[in-house]
Each structure stands twice: as C-alpha cells, then as structure tokens.
C-alpha cells in the first residue's frame, strides 16, 4: 500500500488531534488560535473539535509562556504557540529564567511538561522580525530540549513525543515548510526525542543538518552524487539532547563533516557540533569541519537581499567539495 502523503501543517494538526483526544490535560494557548486556527491556519479544526482547550490570548508573550509554565506546574500539559519564533524575545525571562530552570533550581521537586511551539525561518520576505532561526540561543540555556524537525513524518512523530515528554521542549518548525508534503504514518507514530536519522546513506562525507537545511542538503547530495561524491545526510531532528552517537558512527566512516543550517553562522549550532567533533573525533578527520549558514546580518526584506543572505544548495556543494578535495 502506498504511504499516505500529507503536509507538515496537516502533520501538526494530526499530532495534536490525536494527543488531545488521548489526554484531557493537553491544551493550546497563544494568539489568533480560535477564529483563525493559528496565524498560519496550523491548528485548523482543533478549536471546534476541542472547545475550551484552544485558548486565544491577548498579545502578552510573557504571560502566554508563563500561563503554559504555571499550568504545567499544576497538572496540565500545555502547548504554547509563540506566533512567530522571533517573539521569544518578549518572553525570554519566562523561557530561560523560569521554564528552563524551575525543575533544577527547586531540586527536582516538579516536572514541567510544556511544549513551546515556535514557527521560525526565512524565505518569505517577512524581514528582520519574522524570519529568524534562533535555536542556538536555547541550546545555551540548560534545562530545555530543542527540537527542529524537517519532514512531515518527523513533525508528527516528534510533536507527539514532545507533548508526552515530562520536560520542557522548544519546538521550532519552519514556516516555509508548512506546505511541504511527505509520507506520514497514520495513527500512533512517535519519533523519540534525541534520535537523529540517517536519511541518505553515503561514504564520502557526512552532512549534519536539520530543519530547512535538510532539504537543501538532500538536493546538494543528489547533485554531488553526479560528481561521484556520496554524501551521508543526517537529519539531527533534536538538537538537545543531541544524538552524537549517530554523528560519530557516520564520521568514523566518512572522515569528513559539513554542518548545514539556516541560522546565521557565528555562535550557531554548527559551532557547537563542530567543536564537539573536533574534540571527540579529531583522529578520524581528514579535513576541517565546515559550516554552511546564513550570513551574520539580520534577515533583510527584499527577495534579492534575503536570498543573498541565506545559505543555498550551491554553498553546501562547495563546502562538501572543499572537505572532499574534489
């Protein structure tokens, strides 16, 4: 039987429908959810299916995240919709100082089953305040799990896993990928947090990527195959906890690594992965670890400017050729 194809947007909705039907403690809170089904229509149908459990909030990001946190501390399992990932800045205290730390600073007294769902990413001419990829900030805040899925099946499976997890998860989902379709299993489909996936096997080089970088990397890998370079593409899916075992197994085989992400270069997740590879796998490396990332500027508006700033398939190809000396 051919696998069913659905979009990332439908996958979110399906995951939430299944989880909310399973567990009454789950609710969604954020802006523009009820009448609009979420600002991207991502929660379409849920307000009608689960009346009172999809809650429209005023534009009060601190209290939206805090509402999720306080509810999580008192027996609920909320999903907070950040509207745009960029608006995390308005709730940084609640995310970083409170949510991430509460379990630890209170000596493990309490669990925090909270998902912060944050649509991120550029490519839509949404300019500097609606386009960022901010995942690395939260890698640097101990206490949070950080998930960045790419394909629809991972969106569904990881969202279900995140909702069932008793720790706080920040879940970044790329806006431009909402319409992207892929095969997604029906019903119970869980992708465990902290597990990367080898999505294209290859022996010449390891490409480590996630989110929108995954599609860029796959396209590059297909072109590179024409040059006789077989790239192994690993979709990290969860950045924290990081599945370094899968990374190491691949690099021990390929001896080369390129990290690809849409977030800007300096201080990005590529820096962390690269440092870890250098310190733990130095003897296996035949070339320096390279990073493909956006340029270090805010995301500009005009399509020509935006396109120039963002990493592209050609950049991945160039980096791979450099580390494979081809």
């Amino acid at each position: 039987m051919p696998e069913r194809m659905i979009s990332c947007a439908v996958a979110i909705c399906e995951a939430l429908t299944e989880e909310m039907a399973r567990d009454e403690a789950i609710f969604i809170i954020g802006e523009d959810l009820v009448a609009h089904g979420g600002i991207f229509g991502q929660f379409k149908g849920l307000p009608e299916r689960f009346p009172g459990r999809v809650i429209d909030s005023p534009i009060s990001e601190s209290c939206i995240v805090g509402a999720g946190l306080g509810a999580a501390l008192t027996g609920m399992r909320p999903l907070v919709d950040m509207h745009f990932a960029d608006f995390v800045t308005c709730a940084m205290d609640e995310i970083v100082n409170q949510t991430a730390k509460i379990r630890y600073m209170f000596g493990g007294q309490v669990k925090v089953p909270l998902v912060i769902w944050a649509p991120d990413g550029a490519g839509l001419s949404a300019a500097a305040h609606h386009s960022q990829s901010l995942e690395s900030w939260f890698i640097h805040a101990p206490g949070l799990k950080v998930v960045v899925p790419s394909e629809p099946a991972d969106v569904k499976g990881l969202l279900k896993a995140a909702i069932r997890d008793d720790d706080p998860v920040i879940f970044f989902q790329h806006k431009k990928l909402f319409a992207r379709e892929g095969p997604v299993p029906e019903g119970e489909h869980i992708v465990p947090l902290g597990k990367a996936a080898v999505k294209r096997p290859g022996g010449s080089v390891t490409i480590l990527t996630y989110g929108s970088g995954f599609y860029m990397s796959m396209e590059a890998a297909n072109e590179l195959a024409g040059m006789g370079i077989e790239a192994e593409v690993i979709d990290l899916r969860t950045l924290k906890p990081l599945d370094f075992e899968t990374i190491a197994d691949s690099i021990k085989k390929t001896n080369r690594a390129v990290v690809v992400h849409e977030a800007c270069l300096s201080g990005g997740f590529g820096a962390e992965v690269s440092a870890r590879i250098n310190s733990e796998l130095f003897d296996y490396l035949d070339a320096p670890v390279l990073r493909v990332a956006a340029k270090d500027v805010p995301i500009p508006f005009s399509p020509r400017l935006e396109n120039f700033v963002l990493p592209k398939v050609e950049d991945v190809i160039k980096a791979v050729r450099q580390v494979t000396y081809r």
């Binding site: 601190s62 209290c63 509402a67 306080g70 509810a71 501390l73 600073m105 209170f106 493990g108």
Partner: protein
Amino acid sequence: MKSSVSTREMRRLYRTMVTIRKFETLAGELFAAGKIPGFIHLSIGQEASSVGVCSVLRPDDYIATTHRGHGHVIAKGGDLKKMIAELIGRKTGYCKGKGGSMHIADFSLGILGANGVVGGGFPIIIGAGLSIKLRHTDQVAVCFFGDGASNRGTFHEAMNMASIWKLPILFVCENNCYASTTPTSYACSVTNIAARAAGYNIPGVTVDGNDILAVREAAGQAVDRARRGEGPTLLENKTYRRRGHFEGDPQKYRTRAEVAEWEKNDPLLRFASVLKKKKLLTGEMEKEIQKQVDGELKDAVAFAEQSEWPNPEEALEDMFINP
C-alpha cells in the same frame, strides 16, 4: 461586616508572625556569621501581610512568592528545617542546595516557588489560575510581589489576562516603600498601587499592611470572590521594609529616623496589643510562644548544620526527567 476570628485562630496568627520574625532575625544572624552564602532579603516588619493572606488559604491553594519570600513560605506551612538547610546550602534543604534563599518551593504545599526575578511570579500565577479554571476546581492562586514589580510589564500583562478570563487569582502587592534602593514615591506613577486595578476592570483594595486583621479581612473577601468564580482582586498591603534591600545594604537612601518611625508601627507589637486588650494573650502565653518558636528554630539550625553538604557531582542531577 467583619468576619469573626476564633480565639484559637488569633493565637495561631500571632504565633506564625512570631515564627517569621524570629526566623528572619536568625537568618540575619547566620548571614552575619558567614554561615549563609550569597545574599538574603529579609521581610522583618512585613509579617502581617504574609500571615494575614496565607491564613485565609487552603492547603491546596497556590502561592508564588518573591526574593523576599521566607515569610510567605512559613505562612503557607513551610518546613523550618528544610528552609534553614537550604539557606546554608545543604543536601537536606528544600531544593537540595540548588536554590538557596531566593528559590525555595514546596509543591506539596502549593508553594510554586520564590523567584529571583522581580515580577517573575505573575506569568506563573496566570498559568496556575488558568489550570484551576481548566480543571474546574475551586482553588485560588495568590501572587505576592512588591511595589517595584508593579512597574514590570509582566504585572500589566497578568492583570489584564486575569481580568478577561476571570481567573481565581489574588494579586498581593506588599508596598514596602522601596524597590531595592529606589523609593516607591519616585518610581510609581500612582500613590496607591491598588489604583492600577481600575485599568484592568478589577477591584483594587489598599489596606494597612501592618494590621493583620485588616489584611486578613481584605484577603478573605478577595479569596471568597475568586473561589466563587468572580475573578481576581489586587490587594495592596501598605507596609515597610525595615531591613535593607539585602543584608549588608548601607541604606544611603533613607534616614534612621524614618526607620525608627516605622518600628513604632510594628505589626507584631500592634497585634500583641490587640490580643492583650481582648484578653486573648497574656505575658505568660507570649513567653511560652517565644520559647516554643525558639526551640523549633534551634532544632532547625541543628538539623541543618548536622546535614551533609551535597556532593559536587549532584550539581549535575535534577535537570531532566527523561535525559
């Protein structure tokens, strides 16, 4: 009409106030003796507020407190042994030595935590209030905060949200005249912080925060209202921070005369005199209470000091439930 308070309850209130006063005094001494690392913020002079409010709460009600939160924790039933052990950084403390004075919580008592961030409790209490509503219980959630926090954006977000959703929340502003070193008269656009409630269409009540019966009466009405599903109230308890912002604060921003003036308005002395007038407290009973509390605190200090320090590696524990 004023609600009546039983003799037993009157004495219990007084005893809790004495416990807080003595606990805070002791904490100051332990700090001065170098036994408490870091810094601590004492609530001496504000006992009527914490005890008055918590006395109308049920064990399953929630509170969120502040960096000046020892009194609230004690008033909600906190364990003195675990508190002292936490203050001096021991393994047996409330948070196994990971929190310290500014991060004490006891989820079994509905204490959702003290907070090192001024105004950090508002968003959390909104979540607790929303959770109560979604779970259809008649619990109440109380957020303690100071005058300084009423200038944070989180205060205004929370007041609005609590109002539109009619959340069962009591916002308790302990206006103690100073936000750290800054006088309230300088930093607040209003004389009475309760006036800000009008902007959010909820009741705002200002009371003499050093009169425990006045605090209790106002808090009781607000809590009853919240339990009936009629929404939040902003209660402002006017009081005074007798100690510095932190222990060791040189307090260049105020005069000794000002502090002395407020010492005459001591909430404990005032309540003792009320009780004595009503013949509910004798000098002998007072001595007995002091003795009992001293004994409890002595035991707490002994427990804490005899407790083990945490192993350094324990710093890596309690991060995630599923690592």
